[in-house]
């Protein structure tokens, strides 16, 4: 199908997106969930930048001898998105460290189990 050849970049993007989402919802370890979130974010970068590329164009730095440039606007947005992504990763990891010190584990099942067994004690206070 010609749709496959002209939309190939979108398929790669969706595959990475699904991999990221699957790690977040199906794996219990908190650090691995954060890595999965990072994969999801990078797939969104690809989603924005791939349509901006013009075959035969060049990087958007104006110089003599080049006529077509690839679109600079997605680059600007994604630059911001990358930095915000690492900021969220840092905050998420700080929270994971605190969770580890409070619960003793970073596995989601163990944390939920520990919360469930603390519930009756907290309820009767």
């Amino acid at each position: 199908m010609t749709a496959f050849a002209s939309h190939y970049s979108y398929f790669v993007t969706v595959f990475l997106m699904i991999a990221g989402v699957y790690i977040v919802i199906a794996r219990g370890n908190l650090v691995k969930k954060l890595v999965g979130l990072g994969i999801f974010q990078t797939s969104v970068y690809l989603l924005y930048i791939a349509p901006g590329k013009l075959i035969g164009g060049t990087a958007p730095i104006i110089a003599d001898g080049f006529r077509t440039y690839s679109n600079p606007l997605p680059h600007v947005l994604i630059l911001t998105a990358i930095v915000v992504g690492v900021a969220t990763l840092a905050l998420g990891l700080a929270i994971v460290v605190r969770i580890r010190e409070a619960y003793g584990s970073i596995e989601e099942d163990e944390i939920l189990a520990k919360d469930a067994e603390d519930e009756p004690r907290r309820a009767e206070r």
Binding site: I61, L79, I82, V83, A87, A90, L93, A94, V97
Partner: protein
């Protein structure tokens, strides 16, 4: 790790070049790829590299916590004060063309200071986060 000869030698060779490269990326962001964020991250990476080889207390005495914390806030203040300078000179907030008699030169000045602000904040935050992660829990060994 500071007893490993290869790491020490490679570190001494690479760290000055990394800092120089960070400055290069910062100031040539107008003419090639680069700009504030990349320069800030590369500068922070140079100091983190030093901290990994020589230990956290050595890095803390090289770049003290006070300086890092003030870098975190100073960058945002530099950025915001470029905007206020635009107001004081007669334009709107963050107008660059009033910063100089020639509007294009005013833009260049504005962009320069804004990128400096961004680089200072980004490198301060990355370094501070590294200090917090590495210094927590087992802050006794070098």
């Amino acid at each position: 790790m500071k007893r490993d000869l290869v790491l020490r030698v490679v570190g001494k060779l690479l760290i000055p070049f990394m800092l120089l490269f960070a400055l290069y990326v910062q100031f040539h962001g107008d003419f090639g790829p680069g700009g504030g964020f990349q320069a800030g991250v590369i500068g922070a990476a140079a100091v983190i590299f030093y901290a990994l080889i020589y230990g956290l207390p050595a890095a803390r005495s090289l770049v003290p916590e006070r300086i890092v914390e003030s870098m975190v806030a100073a960058g945002v203040l530099i950025y915001a004060s470029v905007g206020v300078a635009g107001i004081l000179l007669g334009g709107n907030y963050l107008d660059y063309f009033v910063l100089s008699p020639d509007p294009a030169h005013g833009q260049e000045r504005g962009i320069f200071w804004v990128e400096v602000g961004v680089a200072v904040t980004v490198s301060g935050v990355m370094l501070k986060i590294f200090y917090m992660f590495a210094g927590r829990g087992r802050d006794l060994d070098a």
